[in-house]
C-alpha cells in the first residue's frame, strides 16, 4: 500500500544515485516538482527514461545529474531545441551523456513489455531506418506463423517511475485524467512508484477517461499542488506556454541556465518542505 509523504522524504527514500528513473507524462502532467527535488538533493549518475525529455530533463541534464538518457523525441515541444540536452550530447557539458534512442512507438512498447512482465515487445517499426544501428535494445524477430520479420524492442523496467496526477485518496489510490499518455505502463513497469498529486481527497470519483492506479501498486504519494508546472494538470491548471518559450532563452546559455537553477530550484527551500 502506498504511503503519503512529504515530497522531500519520498524522493530521498525512493530515488538513489545511479538509479534508472522514468519521469513520465506526455506533455500533460509532467512531474516537474519531483525533478526539482532531485536537483536539490543532488541525486546523481541517473539513467533517465522518457519518451519526450522535454524541459524537465533539460534541467536535470544541465544540472549534471544524468549519465544516460533513454528517449524518443528530444525537443522543446512547439518551440525548438532542448539546449542543455544538445550541449551535453554535442559537447559533453556538464558531463558526457550516453543515449539510447528510439521511436515513440518503440518506447511505448518497451514500457508495455515492462508492465506486462515480458522481456520484449513486437512492433512494425524501425525497418529501413538507421536507428537500429545505434542501439542494442532493438532487434528483429520472425513470426512463427507467417515468417514475417518484425521489430522487437527490449522491455523497460525502471527502478523508479515518477508521475504527477490530479488526485489521490487518503489510502493512496491515485487518479489521473485528460491526456494520460504512457503513465500507467511506466508506473506498472517500475520497481517503485512515486506519485505527486494536485490534491488529496477523501474519496476518488471516477472520471471519464480517468486512469486509476490502486494504492497497492504505488509506493508513495506526495501532495504537491502545481507540481506539474510549467506543464499542467487538466482541471487544475493550463500549460504555461510562455514558460516553454522563455526556456529557449534561459537554457541557451550555460551561465544563464545555472543562474536560473540557483534562483528557481536550489534557493527554494520552502518548496522542498512540501
Amino acid at each position: 500500500m502506498s504511503e503519503i509523504r512529504l515530497l522531500r522524504d519520498a524522493v530521498a527514500q525512493l530515488i538513489h544515485d545511479g538509479d534508472i528513473v522514468a519521469f513520465e507524462g506526455f506533455t500533460h502532467l509532467i512531474p516537474f516538482a519531483a525533478a526539482h527535488e532531485v536537483i536539490r538533493q543532488g541525486i546523481t549518475d541517473l539513467t533517465l527514461v522518457r519518451m519526450t525529455p522535454d524541459v524537465i530533463y533539460d534541467q536535470l541534464i544541465g544540472a549534471g545529474l544524468v549519465k544516460k538518457l533513454v528517449f524518443s523525441w528530444g525537443g522543446n515541444p512547439g518551440v525548438g531545441s532542448l539546449h542543455r540536452f544538445r550541449d551535453a550530447v554535442e559537447n559533453g557539458w556538464p558531463r558526457p551523456l550516453e543515449i539510447d534512442e528510439h521511436s515513440h512507438a518503440g518506447m511505448a512498447n518497451r514500457y508495455v513489455a515492462g508492465a506486462s512482465g515480458l522481456p520484449f515487445a513486437v512492433l512494425r517499426g524501425y525497418r529501413g531506418t538507421d536507428l537500429v544501428e545505434r542501439t542494442n535494445t532493438v532487434s528483429t524477430i520472425a513470426c512463427p506463423f507467417t515468417g514475417e520479420e518484425l521489430a522487437a524492442v527490449a522491455a523497460l523496467n525502471p527502478d523508479v517511475t515518477v508521475i504527477h496526477a490530479q488526485q489521490a485518496d487518503r489510502d493512496g489510490n491515485v487518479q489521473l485524467w485528460g491526456l494520460t499518455g504512457v503513465q500507467k505502463e511506466a508506473a506498472l513497469a517500475a520497481k517503485r512508484v512515486l506519485v505527486t498529486v494536485e490534491e488529496i481527497v477523501d474519496r476518488l470519483t471516477l472520471r471519464p477517461g480517468g486512469v486509476v492506479l490502486p494504492s497497492w501498486v504505488v509506493t508513495a504519494v506526495a501532495e504537491v499542488p502545481g507540481g506539474a508546472h510549467p506543464s499542467y494538470a487538466t482541471g487544475y491548471s493550463i500549460r504555461d506556454n510562455d514558460f516553454y518559450q522563455a526556456w529557449d532563452r534561459i537554457s541557451r546559455d550555460r551561465q544563464t541556465f545555472t543562474g536560473w537553477v540557483d534562483d528557481h530550484i536550489l534557493r527554494t527551500e520552502e518548496a522542498s518542505a512540501r
Binding site: 506526455f26 506533455t27 500533460h28 519518451m51 519526450t52 528517449f71 524518443s72 523525441w73 528530444g74 525537443g75 515541444p77 512547439g78 518551440v79 531545441s81 532542448l82 540536452f85 544538445r86 550530447v89 554535442e90 559537447n91 534512442e101 528510439h102 521511436s103 515513440h104 512507438a105 511505448a108 512498447n109 514500457y111 508495455v112 512492433l123 512494425r124 517499426g125 524501425y126 525497418r127 529501413g128 531506418t129 538507421d130 536507428l131 514475417e148 520479420e149 518484425l150 485528460g178 491526456l179 494520460t180 499518455g181 504512457v182 500507467k184 505502463e185 477517461g209 486512469v211 506543464s231 499542467y232 487538466t234 493550463i238 500549460r239 506556454n241 516553454y244
Partner: protein
C-alpha cells in the same frame, strides 16, 4: 485577391492535399496548421489524430504542443499512447500521416535525428524520431511539408530516421512497410511527387511566379521535372482568411 506569401501557399496547398482524407495523423507545426486549415475549409469532417492520444480533436486555436489541453477536451476519445501507436496507427486505420523533416532525400526519406557538421566537429543534434518512423510506415499515405532549401533537400541523408521510398520503387514492399509512403512533398516553392516508375521525387507543380530554376537551385540533387509542370492555384480569399484567423487565435 489579397497579397499572400509562398509560406502561406505552402500551408494552403498542404491543406488542399487532404481533400480525400478521412483521418489524419497530425504532427505539431506546419502539419497541424495545414490539417486545422483543412477542417476550416474543404474538409470540415476531417478527423484529427494527435500522438498524445487524442482521437478526433476539434481545437478552436492552433495548439502549441501536441499535448495542449484543448486537444483532449475537444476529442471524441482519448486513448493511451501505446494504444494510439498500436491499435490506431499500426492497426492501419489512419489515412494520411503528415510529417516535417530536417533533411529529405530524393526518395522522400527523412532525417530528424542528427546532422553531420563536418570533420572534427561533433554531430549536430536534432530532436529525433518521435512518432515519425511508424507514421511513415503505417499510414495509408504520407504528406511532407517543408521549406525548400539545399539545407533541407539533400543529396544524401546524414541519418535515415523515417523511410519514404527507401532506395526506390518496390523498396517499401521489400521492407514490409504497409502504407503507400510519401505521395507529395509540399514546399514554399511548389510540389514534388514520386515518379510512378522510380519513386524519385519530381517537380510536378510550382507556386505562381516561381521558376523551375529556383526550385532546382534550392534542391541538393539534380531535380527532375514532370513532363508538364502545373501551377498551384493561389490561395482563395476564404483560405487566406481561415489561415490568418487560425494563426491569430
Amino acid at each position: 485577391m489579397s497579397d499572400w506569401t509562398n509560406d502561406e501557399l505552402m500551408t494552403v496547398s498542404a491543406a488542399r492535399a487532404l481533400s480525400a482524407a478521412r483521418t489524419c495523423f497530425v504532427g505539431i507545426g506546419l502539419p497541424s496548421t495545414a490539417a486545422n486549415l483543412a477542417r476550416r475549409t474543404s474538409r470540415p469532417d476531417l478527423v484529427l489524430i494527435y500522438e498524445s492520444g487524442a482521437l478526433g480533436s476539434k481545437p478552436t486555436r492552433l495548439p502549441l504542443s501536441i499535448g495542449d489541453g484543448e486537444l483532449a477536451e475537444t476529442a471524441d476519445a482519448v486513448v493511451s499512447v501505446p494504444e494510439m501507436f498500436n491499435y490506431w496507427l499500426q492497426g492501419g486505420r489512419i489515412d494520411v500521416g503528415f510529417l516535417g523533416a530536417a533533411q529529405l532525400d530524393r526518395h522522400a526519406n527523412i532525417n530528424t535525428t542528427v546532422v553531420d557538421r563536418g570533420p572534427g566537429r561533433p554531430e549536430g543534434r536534432l530532436p529525433g524520431a518521435g512518432g515519425a518512423p511508424e507514421i511513415a510506415a503505417n499510414c495509408g499515405e504520407v504528406l511532407i511539408v517543408l521549406r525548400h532549401s539545399t539545407r533541407n533537400f539533400v543529396d544524401r541523408l546524414d541519418f535515415t530516421t523515417s523511410v519514404g521510398h527507401g532506395a526506390g520503387n518496390g523498396d517499401r514492399r521489400r521492407l514490409g512497410l504497409r502504407g503507400r509512403g510519401p505521395v507529395a512533398v509540399i514546399t514554399d516553392l511548389g510540389i514534388l511527387r514520386p515518379a510512378p516508375d522510380t519513386a524519385e521525387l519530381v517537380l510536378t507543380d510550382l507556386h505562381p511566379g516561381v521558376t523551375v530554376e529556383q526550385a532546382r537551385a534550392a534542391t541538393g540533387w539534380p531535380l527532375k521535372t514532370a513532363d508538364a509542370v502545373g501551377v498551384t492555384a493561389p490561395p482563395t480569399d476564404a483560405e487566406l482568411a481561415a489561415l490568418r484567423g487560425l494563426k491569430a487565435a
